[in-house]
């Protein structure tokens, strides 16, 4: 039996992690026989459209993340189920959701789970779905005023047919001017100054480079956004800017860097530094699928997604409190980052094949078959 699924997330063509998952999942849910439509949280205001034959209902410019129209969209599409994919805590109108059959795909990146996420889940009556085992553990913990939840488990995935190792990596690197260099990659949305541990990562690289003059940093991010860093200023201050290359900004901001192009960037790196407090951590997994090992932290999803990469121990970090989420994130110590880079400098080349092998366990087709298919069949049978 097929479900009619309304997907409350960003337009699939937006250059964000949530949109990328949307683009990967919706065609595959259709292939399972379900009818799907997007209720846009962003990326398509005030007019309907289609994406690859999938209806896209608009958000409006009058309310945040489409909450003013998701109920009418649900009824217009005659949906059986709405699945939300955004920072769950952004939802502000619980009454809207009480009339809908809702699953909240909820990234959990702090310990305990975000109080703000928890409140939305409890108030809307929606069912939480963890996208990582860390998230599942946090939801089930039931500590510090949060009830223990009973979430579904629907992990993110990546397209390992797009993100593949390079047939001739040496030629690729030569073409990029990376011959003889130890390339450290960072790929992030530059809209955060804390959670993603950007500053410790940059400072750790700067310390590392004092010893290794052939080390260079490639940053796939916009140079400056209001809620993030001015990366050039910060890089100059800590002395790493002369060894930093930025992805082309115009192409990045306009969404012209497609996944196949990004895959070449990953392939050319020796290691990718991805030490944020992540709800999942797609960029590191994409890098691994291209054969590039990652450095992660022993916090949030780091241990479950580091694979054969390099883990900064929790002892090389410290907790810090976030009032909004009433929970801890962890801030990496600069020395811990430097030490992980030292290990990567010596061993990363030997871990490329194993990194790929690890990443394919999160191939999107496999994730859909193993996790999404049985859950949706179960829900369809429940009527």
């Amino acid at each position: 039996m097929a479900l009619r699924i309304l997907w409350h997330g960003p337009h699939p063509d937006m250059p964000t992690g949530y949109a990328g998952q949307t683009a990967l999942l919706l065609p595959r849910l259709k292939l399972l026989g379900h009818d799907v439509a997007v209720s846009a949280t962003a990326g398509q205001p005030n007019h309907p459209g289609f994406w690859h034959g999938i209806p896209v209902y608009p958000c409006t410019t009058y309310a945040d993340v489409g909450e003013d129209v998701v109920g009418p969209h649900y009824r217009h599409f005659r949906a059986d189920l709405v699945i939300t994919l955004l920072c769950t805590w952004l939802l502000s109108y619980p009454a809207t959701w009480r009339d809908l059959r809702t699953v909240h795909l909820t990234p959990a990146d702090c310990d305990p789970m975000s109080w703000a996420d928890y409140q939305v889940i409890a108030d809307t009556g929606g069912t939480p779905a963890a996208i990582s085992r860390f998230g599942e553990k946090m939801m089930r913990a039931g500590t510090e005023g949060r009830a223990a939840l009973d979430p579904l488990y629907l992990p993110h995935g990546i397209d390992t047919k797009v993100f593949t190792p390079a047939p001739d990596r040496d030629a690729l690197r030569a073409g990029m001017g990376f011959d003889g260099k130890f390339m450290v990659g960072m790929n992030f949305m530059n809209n955060d100054r804390q959670r993603k541990n950007i500053e410790p990562a940059l400072r750790g690289f700067a310390e590392f480079r004092k010893k290794h003059k052939n080390a260079y940093l490639a940053i796939h991010a916009l140079n400056a956004l209001p809620e993030g860093f001015h990366l050039q200023r910060l890089g100059r201050h800590i002395g790493s800017w002369d060894a930093t290359s930025m992805s082309p900004q115009y192409e990045l901001v306009t969404g012209m860097i497609t996944p196949p192009v990004l895959a070449d960037w990953y392939r050319a790196m020796d290691v990718v530094l991805d030490i944020g407090n992540e709800g999942f951590g797609l960029t590191g997994l994409e890098a691994q699928a291209c054969g590039t090992p990652v450095i992660r932290g022993d916090w949030s999803t780091g241990p479950e997604l580091v694979g054969p990469g390099f883990l900064i121990p929790a002892s090389a970090s410290e907790p810090y409190w976030n009032e909004k989420h009433q929970a801890d994130w962890r801030r990496a110590h600069v020395a811990g980052v430097r030490q992980a880079l030292e290990e990567a400098y010596e061993q990363a080349a030997d871990r490329r094949e194993a990194s790929r092998e690890f990443a394919v366990t999160y191939d999107i087709d496999d994730v859909v078959a193993r996790y999404w298919k049985p859950v949706l069949e179960d829900l369809a049978a429940d009527g």
Binding site: V103, G126, T127, L379, G383
Partner: protein, 233 residues
């Protein structure tokens, strides 16, 4: 046959039972029956029975609120007591205030059946006290969601009523909820409140699971009752 059976599970609160009996004596206008449910191991059992002042009571092994509510409801839907037009869930920490509250709520029940609830001075989005048409309880096979022990059974009533288009809020009828959160001057937190708190986690999970997996089917049952009664749904 009574118009309304008010089902009142209670534990350890003879004073609350007495307060409810008195309030009903002063305010009921319909043919309303109070039916109490007491735990057989309740240290206050004898006092409770005395406070019930002759109203029907059932004494049984200890149960939670939902299980007790269903146990009492079955008396009227399956175990031989004449089924009234509607069944009500009113807490022992509630006090009817509006004269004729029972008649007013019965009169506001939608044609074909539904859920009707008063202003309880605590929440207006869900029916913490509720009157439900008996055929709906019969068709569902339960009055309070059996997977929950205590919490969220009122959310379920709201969900079903909204989904089936038969939820009616009556702000002109007051049945005050004297919960210690809102009336600490009247009610103090006691062991019964404390015990109930222990099931919150499991009840939230059960409620979310019901919304995801069973709610649509149960709402269809409610709509079916209304259709069978000739209501436009």
């Amino acid at each position: 046959m009574a118009d309304l059976a008010v089902l009142v599970p209670s534990r350890g609160r003879p004073a609350s039972v007495e307060r409810l009996v008195r309030a009903c004596a002063l305010t009921c206008a319909a043919d309303t029956v109070l039916h109490f449910g007491f735990d057989e191991d309740d240290p206050e059992l004898e006092a409770n029975i005395a406070a019930a002042a002759g109203w029907p009571r059932t004494v049984a092994p200890r149960m939670g609120l939902a299980a007790w509510t269903n146990r009492l409801a079955r008396k009227y839907t399956a175990e031989g007591l004449p089924p009234p037009r509607a069944l009500a869930s009113v807490g022992d920490d509630m006090r009817p205030v509006t004269a004729g509250w029972d008649r007013m709520l019965l009169d506001k029940l939608p044609a074909g059946g539904g859920f009707c609830y008063p202003d309880d001075k605590r929440r207006d989005d869900i029916p913490e006290a509720v009157v439900i048409s008996t055929p709906i309880v019969e068709a569902l096979g339960w009055m309070a969601l059996p997977q929950c022990a205590h919490w969220f059974i009122d959310n379920v009533w709201a969900d079903l009523g909204r989904a089936a288009g038969c939820l009616v809020y009556c702000p002109d009828v007051t049945v005050e909820h004297l919960h210690p959160n809102v009336r600490p001057d009247v009610t103090r937190t006691d062991q019964t409140y404390h015990d109930a708190a222990g099931s919150f986690d499991a009840d939230l999970a059960a409620y979310q699971s019901w919304r995801l997996r069973r709610m649509r089917a149960d709402a269809a049952v409610v709509r079916g009752v209304r259709e069978a009664a000739g209501a436009a749904v």
